[in-house]
Structure formats: C-alpha cells, structure tokens
Point group: C2
Chain length 445, copies 2
Amino acid sequence: MRYSRALTAVSVVLGAVFIRAQNTDRVSAVRDAAIGGTARNILLFIGDGMGDAEITLARYYAVGAAGRLALDTLPMTGAYTTYAVEEHDPSLPNYVPDSASTGTAWATGHKTSNGRISTSARDDRDLPTILEIAQQRGYLTGDVTTAELTDATPAVLAAHVARRACQGPADMAACPQDRKSAGGPGSIAEQEIAHNVDVLMGGGAARFEQAMKDGRTPIQNAAKNGYEVIRDAAGLERAKRGRKLLGLFAKGNMTTEWSGEEARPYPSNVGSPQRCTEDHRPAGEPALAQMTTTALALLDRPGAGPGFFLQVEGASIDKQDHVADPCGQIGETIAFDRAIKIGIDYAKAHPGTLLVVTADHAHTSQIVGRATETDHPTGSISELLTIDRAPLTVSYGTNLYHRSQDHTGTQLRIAAMGPQAAGVVGVIDQTDLFQLMLRALEPRR
Amino acid sequence: MRYSRALTAVSVVLGAVFIRAQNTDRVSAVRDAAIGGTARNILLFIGDGMGDAEITLARYYAVGAAGRLALDTLPMTGAYTTYAVEEHDPSLPNYVPDSASTGTAWATGHKTSNGRISTSARDDRDLPTILEIAQQRGYLTGDVTTAELTDATPAVLAAHVARRACQGPADMAACPQDRKSAGGPGSIAEQEIAHNVDVLMGGGAARFEQAMKDGRTPIQNAAKNGYEVIRDAAGLERAKRGRKLLGLFAKGNMTTEWSGEEARPYPSNVGSPQRCTEDHRPAGEPALAQMTTTALALLDRPGAGPGFFLQVEGASIDKQDHVADPCGQIGETIAFDRAIKIGIDYAKAHPGTLLVVTADHAHTSQIVGRATETDHPTGSISELLTIDRAPLTVSYGTNLYHRSQDHTGTQLRIAAMGPQAAGVVGVIDQTDLFQLMLRALEPRR
C-alpha cells in the first residue's frame, strides 16, 4: 500500500516538479514530491569537498549566473552539519572533518574521528554500513569514484580500518590490528573485494596489485571470486549483467577532466582572465557519467532482488581545491553534475528511486571581487572568464601557497528526490542521512 | 476558500513540523507545511552577510555542534543566488554583490548594479518595492535594523536613489538627480519619512538631523507628520498602536552586542582560544529582539487592514565580518537569531504569517583546522573556545590585514514557514523572493 502510493506520487512528480518548479507557484510541487515509503533503489551522489561555494563557482563558470546545473533541479533541499569527533575524547567535536569521518557518518550513522574508515573513535569497533545492510536485505550494490577505489569515500561503504592510509596490502603500517596476520580483515582493497560489491569502479589499480601475504594480489582474488576485471574505458563493453565488475582505470586517482592555470598570490592573472581547457582526460579513462551509466545498467536487474544501492563520488573537486586549481575543480564539478544528470534521468524513469546529492565537507574556494593593488585576498587567486563573458575571481586562502588548502567546517547543501527525500529539508546532521537511507531500505509491508 | 485552507494547514503544522521535525520521519511534516494561499502578515528577516559559514560558526560557538539555532528550525529550506549586474551593461553579471543591489533584488524583483537603491542599472528608473505594494494594498509596514536606518538594506524598501551613499540631506553629492532641488525625491532619510512607514527603528540619527534646504531636518518632518520619535530603549514604552514610530537609537550604527579580540595574521592567539564578552551593548540601546517585539505589537492590529509587512535586519554580521572581529560577528548573529525566535513564536501563534529568514550576500569568514607554523591560513585568524569546550579556528582572508574583508559570491540559505514558504525549496534567485512575497500579498479571493 505504501509502496504503490509512493509510485503514484512519483508519477505525478514526473509531470510536476521538474516543470512546475520553473513556474511561479512551487508549493504544490513540493507537497507532491514529499513522499514516504520504501525505495526500490538508492542513488547516493557525493561531491567530495563540494560546498555551496564550489557549486556556485561551477554554475557561474559553466552555465552562467542565471543557469542551472542538474544538481540544482532536485525538488527537496536542506543543509547538514559535518563535524567529526576527537579520537582521544569522542564527546568533543572536531569542527573541520575529513572524508573518512564524514563518510563514516552517512555510511554508518555514527560520528568518528578524522582518518577512521567505518570504525568507532577510540575503541575501534567496526560499524555496520548502509551498503552491508542493503546487501543483507538482498539489494545489489555499487561503489563508483574518480579517486582511488581505496580512498576514504568509497572505502567507508565496504571496509573497516583504523586509518584511511591502509589502502592496500603493503600499506598497513598504521593499522597493525587490521592486518590479516593479526586476525583482522586486511587492507581496504582486500575488504572491498571480500565484500562482493557488485560494481566497483574507479582508480587505484596500484593498491590492488600489491602482494598479500600469500603472494597473491587483491586483483587476482577478485578474478578468482568471479569479478570481471577491466582496466580501461573500452573494457566497459565487457561488463555484463549478472557478473560482478571491478573497473580500475588508473594506477592512482583518475585524471581530471579540465585543466588550466593554478591560482597564485596577487597579482596572479588579474586583468587576463583564463578559460579552462576541457579535454584533459585520457581516452582510456571513462567519464564519471559513463561509469554511472554502466553501473546503472548492471544494477538495474528486476527480479534479482528488491533493488540496488549505488554510491557515485565526484572525488577530485576536493583534490583540485587542495591544490588551488580552479579549472581542475570546476571541471570535476561539471563532470560530477553530468553523472548526476544520468542519475536523475534514471530516477525519473524508475519511480521508487531515492536519489541524494550532497558532499562530505566544505572546502576552501571563495568567489571574491576583482583584486587590486590595495585590496586583494591574502591567498592564491585566479581570474576566470565565465560563459557569461564576465570575469570571476576565485580565492584560495586556507593555507600558504603550494601547501595543501584546508577543508572548512561550513554546513553543506543536501538535495534529494524520491521516497524519503523530504527528510533532507531543514537542518540535519550527516548521520541523519544514514537514518534516511535506512528508512528507505525498510522491508516493504 | 484558499485562505481558510491555509489556516487549517498552518494549525496542523503548529502541532506537526516543530515537533515531528525532531522525529525520524519528516516527510509528512514537509508535506503539511507546504501550504499556499495568501498571508495575513509577512515577516522578512535579513541577516546581512549571513552566509552558511556565518550561520555554522555562530551555531557551533553558541549552542554547540549538535545544537540548533531558532533559524535552523524553519520547515522549508533552499538556496538562492545573489549576483548583481554591471552598471555599464546590465546584461553582464557581477558575481560579488553588495547590500544595495541584493536588497533591490528582493525588494523589487529586479537585478541592479552595486550601490543602487531600488533604481535600475544604467537608466536609473525607480523600481516599485514590496513595501510600497503592501502599503497600496492596505497593509501596515515596518522596517527595523541594527544599522543606520538609511543603510542599504532598510533603504531599499522605502527609497529610490542612484547611490547608497545618499543617506541624509547633506549626503547628496553622488545623486544630483535625486536632490529635491532637481525635482528628485531627496535623500534616503527624507524618503523613508515621506513613505509613512508605520514602524521605523534602527541607528543613524545623525542622518535624520542633517538640515534640508528649508533648514528643517527629517526628524522634524517626522514629528510633524505624526511620528512618535524616540531615542533610546526607554522610549519604547511610549510607542503605541495607531501612531507611527521612528526609533533612532544611535548616531550611526547601533553598538554590537558582543566583543572580543580581532583576528590577526598567524600566530594570532593559536593555543589560547578566546571566549567572547557578551555585554557590550549600552543600556540605552534596545536589542534587536526587543525592537522586533515592539514592532510586532504595533503592527499586529486586526481590523486596521489586511495585515502587515515587516523587515528586520541583523545588519552588523556583515560589518563585523568586514573588520574580522569573530566575537562581534557571532554576537550579532545570535542577537539576530533571538529576534527570529520572537518572529517564529509570533508566526506560530498567528497562522497565516509568512516568515522568511535569509541573507543578502555571503561573506568572508571560514571555519578552518588548527593553524600550525607550516600550515595556516594566509589571512587573519582567531581561535575561539566554543560552548562544547572545543577550539574552533576562524579565518578571514579575502583582503589584507586591517583592510575591509570582501563579500563573497556563494549562494545563500533561504528558509521559511507559512503560506508560500515552500517556494524557497530548491535553487531560486534573490529576485524570486520578491515574487514569492508578492504571491503571498495577493488580494484574497
């Protein structure tokens, strides 16, 4: 009963929200989009480091001040807090989190300390993840990223280690208790394979090529365990429904889509705004949108279970923010938005899909006024020429020039459509996203 | 019909949103809060410079990481864009707006260039404001701020000048065409009095004491035009329903509520986090919450018209951001939130009230990690000790030390309750807030 009502409501929404939201009266569109019940599928899009500043910057540069990204069109919107806790005293907040503690928050519903992957602060307990719960309930699962597959955001779904650095079998120095030789579950790469996630795609091939104690590699284990292992975009053609897929498209992180000049201390390029180069990605590496399309094709298997859970990460928004590269950052945001567009189109065509778009933590970039000799930001800046043919100055000042720019603690946008999506409206915490997804996964009545 | 339906829905909301929003399933709370129809009253709260960073900072410092401000509790939330346009070519965006262009956007529904007060870019047309339209429809009106009453945000409702600097009769150098001697409407102070706004409260007495051409002052004009003129908090007792009120509580801007150490370049106070001093406001100056209470008492006159429109500005969040004073900034945000709490309590008790909380433009402050010798922000920083007894570092880096910190162009949070409140959900533009309020003002059917 609840499910069919949700289906009806979504059908109304298809003809309502995405058209009426453009009209003057959006009240009934919001009311119609506020549907409960359980979800056939959950599509979770995480823009790493994608705060409101990063969203605004990408929108203004690429589609203009009055333009709208795909992620702007979602019918339910709110904000969530991202703070971590301290390892030495988990009752104390740490206001500036990293991708490990924040990922653990939505993956498990628990706050932890920076650096931890789905383990609790101080007492190092394994925390059950939303992907594990989905698997227990028969859902197919997927985990897709542009970073290394063993990086924090993909790792939190299908691994439990004390330190995020413990990515491959040879990287276990920081996690002695997690070593297989100590009776632990092994590195993140080993655990991801052991978790039998149906679709794993991203970079980080080198982690999966490290030798385990028995001389074998995680990649060999994957093949033995029934994974189709592919190494480039052409390999996507070999992916087939019913067979697990491990796609490793780069040794480390995947290449950014766009490139340009780094931001530099004043005067930088003031007066000569740059346009970004948009063909930076090697042909062998698929775009995130292409990976998303493949993941959906593999996971959309009516009859194979109640549905699927898929996380898609736009990882290098964060990484390009860290290195103060505005074109790299914007290009990754736009590539992420293209993947979101694929997801929204899927959700429109498949009622009962809960789709969430959010980020893990805020970041450094700011849109500022034109810099002058007497008045300019203290950090690194770059002028961009936007699609509006207007100059836009971006500033990076949370760390010194050529040091890694810092995350920030600002609350983040969270947006959604589908069953339970209305739970993102207002101000919630990152751990509430776990609860929201858990409600959507509840067994149907 | 539409109105009574709205009333019923609001009554349901009173028992629903503010309690159920704390519960796990928020879907029906959102659905119930999505009501249309017209509003008896409109309460518009503007936090000047209050971006998501400023909100998060005030929340974490004053009520803790897991705490909630009054402004966090509103049932409908979204984001809006704030860009201005260029004076020389209004088809070009200016991505970093000021309080004049942004105020004009929600007050009139039109984009203009920075510095303009409800006049159009380049061709300098007067743009009808939401306050003027409300007056025409019989609504009582109020305009309350902690800045000078002639500052940009209060000015946009009840004045039309080419430059925001034209605040008093002696300040007209930048607006020759607006001078009364040139057939114009005169300074902002003169126009605000001439507009017969029922409740005017704020700072800026000196502007109203400047001599006009006939030797009289705007303050004398006000008294002659039936205003009760008060000059301090004690004077609020003389305010009475049915008589217009002009409250001028300071020569310039009103005093900030809190004080503390300014942010300084590294090492600043790293390792010695400060607590703010909370009793900085002189006894003669009322708190914004007290001004809001008085304004509501004066404007809530059933029978005197369809209802009222009231704008309340927390002005010095912006001003303390500009001078990199974190305690001043947080104190103004908290004082603003106390005023919002008064408004929310009023709206809960008076169904049919549309209440909106938002800001005009984003600003400079950022919450960053602990600064060290090798890794620290390039700008000015200060460590605070929050209510959680945890250190929090705030950074100001959009301009050089002891220069005015810059606004930023990030989209802003907008939140609301009451009729048409659901129109804030999603991503809208600042000019859409005008349309939203206009819908709420529509004559009842």
